[in-house]
């Protein structure tokens, strides 16, 4: 039988490893050897689920080595939760397989869509905030969480356009989704800043309206600058450089309120050498150490 020659599809089993309230990094294959050899032990590593949807090979071997030593979170980029053509059942099955294989501490996805009948666009596209989209997203989340047998975290988007069909604020929309679906939230503070600049609102106001008590993970990343048709600043969620000072400031504000939370530094384009990404993670660690214990919600979190 061919099956007898194959490595068991369930693979090795791992120890339970919740995400610590520390800094983590987006896992890049070029960094894996250095991460494993580094005396600095990063708090956790986050993978893009789609990169591990193959059956086997070197990518899985490397991730198995990482998962044996570090907590891992799985971040999907392709489920297309906001899609009007529904959740692709084959893709959900492939995500479930990655989750079963690596037993991650967290699973997260985006408030966005990326697939339509024409195909997959490899970008996170915006949805109008209204009751029809709300119902669709909640129904998709229910289906995903049923299949994965666990709640997932939903990430707030960065956007460049608005919709005439929008009738709710983004923060109300996200709070309502979480309430109806039971999902947790992933707060991407760079996305908040990018959207705030692009749509002309105050990021601190957004954070005041955001249900911070539901946030279980934070994302930080760098952004690029462009201009809109009127010549005004338009920020691009580029993930290609260090986290901006303004985003670090917002992060300090959030951590002061929530207490220490698992915090991922994302760097997906023009990926630097590991020490550069590690430095970003250490900056986040320093803020978590300084502000986490004194936070408003910190004692509540610590008591859990």
């Amino acid at each position: 039988m061919t099956q007898s020659a194959s490595i068991s599809s369930s693979g090795p089993r791992f120890p339970r490893a919740p995400l610590p309230p520390r800094a983590g990094a987006g896992l890049k294959s070029a960094h894996i050897d250095q991460i494993l050899a580094d005396s600095y032990r990063i708090g956790f590593l986050e993978i893009h689920a789609e990169n591990y949807m193959g059956d086997g090979g070197p990518a899985h071997r490397a991730l198995t080595a990482i998962r044996s030593e570090f907590p891992v979170s799985v971040h999907g980029v392709g489920l297309s939760i906001g899609s009007g053509s529904g959740i692709n059942p084959a893709h959900l099955e492939r995500l479930a397989r990655v989750v079963e294989r690596y037993e991650p501490a967290m699973v997260s996805e985006h408030l966005a869509w990326s697939s339509h009948d024409a195909g997959y666009f490899n970008d996170l596209l915006p949805v109008p905030y209204n009751s029809a989209t709300l119902e669709r997203v909640v129904s998709h989340l229910g289906r995903i969480q049923d299949r994965l047998k666990r709640p997932i975290l939903l990430e707030n988007p960065s956007t460049y356009v608005a919709f005439e069909q929008t009738t709710m604020s983004e923060t109300d929309f996200i709070r309502e989704i979480a309430r109806k679906s039971g999902c947790g939230l992933l707060l991407d503070i760079n996305n908040v800043f990018v959207s705030a600049v692009n749509h002309g609102f105050k990021p601190l106001q957004y954070l005041r309206e955001f249900p911070l008590e539901l946030v279980e993970e934070i994302h930080l990343a760098g952004h690029a600058a462009d201009t809109d048709d009127e010549g005004d600043l338009l920020l691009i969620d580029a993930h290609d450089r260090p986290v901006a000072d303004a985003v670090w400031k917002l992060y300090e504000t959030v951590i002061s309120q929530t207490g220490a939370l698992p915090t991922l530094v994302e760097w997906d384009n023009d990926v630097p050498d590991w020490p550069v990404l590690r430095r970003e993670a250490q900056l986040a660690d320093a803020i978590l150490d300084r502000l986490g214990p004194a936070s408003l919600l910190g004692s509540r979190h610590a008591a859990e």
Binding site: A5, G56, F163, N198, D228, L234
Partner: protein
């Protein structure tokens, strides 16, 4: 699937179509904040989609990119991605139709080997991500009684691909991937390539005459004797022992069985 309400889906259909066609107007309902224009704003999505898909193709087909140059490659990839956007969100599976596209893309007709180089690159990545399976060990053949060897059939290894070319596609692929000059390669010499991953490293070999046909016959379920007979008819000088050693070393098969005894390899 909520496909029963096409009206609800319409704005996304507009949005999707306009992403890939810059001549289409802005999708219905898409606006800038506070009465601002959305042209350049929507162009960010167009650019994200196009650049990320071109970058994905460049990652999957680095040898093709080197052979035509990065600027030409990006323009060509832009044409391809509008014809054939990815079918799934697993980007390492993208580009299964890229070789066929190159076959009919007139501007590269002077590089007739290019499509086969793309086939090798696509096969390379399929093999890279395929299931981990132990290749057939030479001992498994050794335990079969000599008089039964001719009846042996083989199970193909999931990480094994054969790409046959009327051109020197394997030499061109290897030189391009290794940044070696192409000037010693005679492009019109036909070559058959074998791509395998017996452990965690993808291997690419140029096969001697007949070996590709021999392996293909075994892969489709022919017996060892049957495959050898078919091959020798076409390639009288076919070196059977060398081909068997090569397939064991490369890991073309994962198991073998004798039709009488059903002897299976146990690992």
């Amino acid at each position: 699937m909520p496909r029963n309400d096409p009206a609800r889906d319409a704005p996304q259909a507009d949005f999707a179509a306009a992403l890939l066609d810059p001549d289409l107007p802005l999708p219905k309902g898409v606006v800038g904040p506070a009465g601002k224009s959305a042209q350049r704003r929507f162009a960010v999505y167009r650019n994200n989609v196009t650049v990320s898909l071109i970058d994905s193709l460049a990652d999957i087909f680095p040898a093709v990119q080197r052979l035509v140059g990065p600027d030409f490659f990006r323009n060509m990839a832009r044409v391809y991605l509008t014809e054939e956007p990815p079918a799934s969100a697993v980007m390492f599976e993208y580009g299964s139709g890229f070789a066929a596209f190159l076959d009919r893309f007139e501007p590269v007709s002077k590089l007739p080997y290019l499509a086969d180089v793309a086939r090798l690159e696509r096969a390379w990545l399929d093999v890279f991500h395929s299931t981990d399976v132990e290749p057939l060990s030479p001992e498994a053949l050794g335990v079969i009684a000599p008089e039964n060897l001719g009846d042996v059939r083989f199970t193909p290894h999931p990480a094994a691909r054969i790409v046959r070319s009327r051109y020197a596609a394997v030499s061109i692929f290897s030189a391009s991937r290794e940044y070696r000059p192409l000037d010693r390669i005679r492009p019109l010499d036909p070559e058959d390539g074998l791509i395998t991953r017996p452990d965690f490293e993808v291997q690419v070999r140029t096969l001697p005459p007949g070996a590709a046909q021999f392996f293909e016959a075994l892969i489709t379920g022919e017996t060892l004797a049957g495959a050898a007979t078919i091959t020798v008819e076409r390639h009288p000088g076919f070196d059977l022992p060398a081909a068997i050693s090569a397939m064991l070393e490369a890991g073309v098969f994962s198991a073998c069985s004798c039709s009488q005894a059903q002897t299976e390899q146990i690992t």
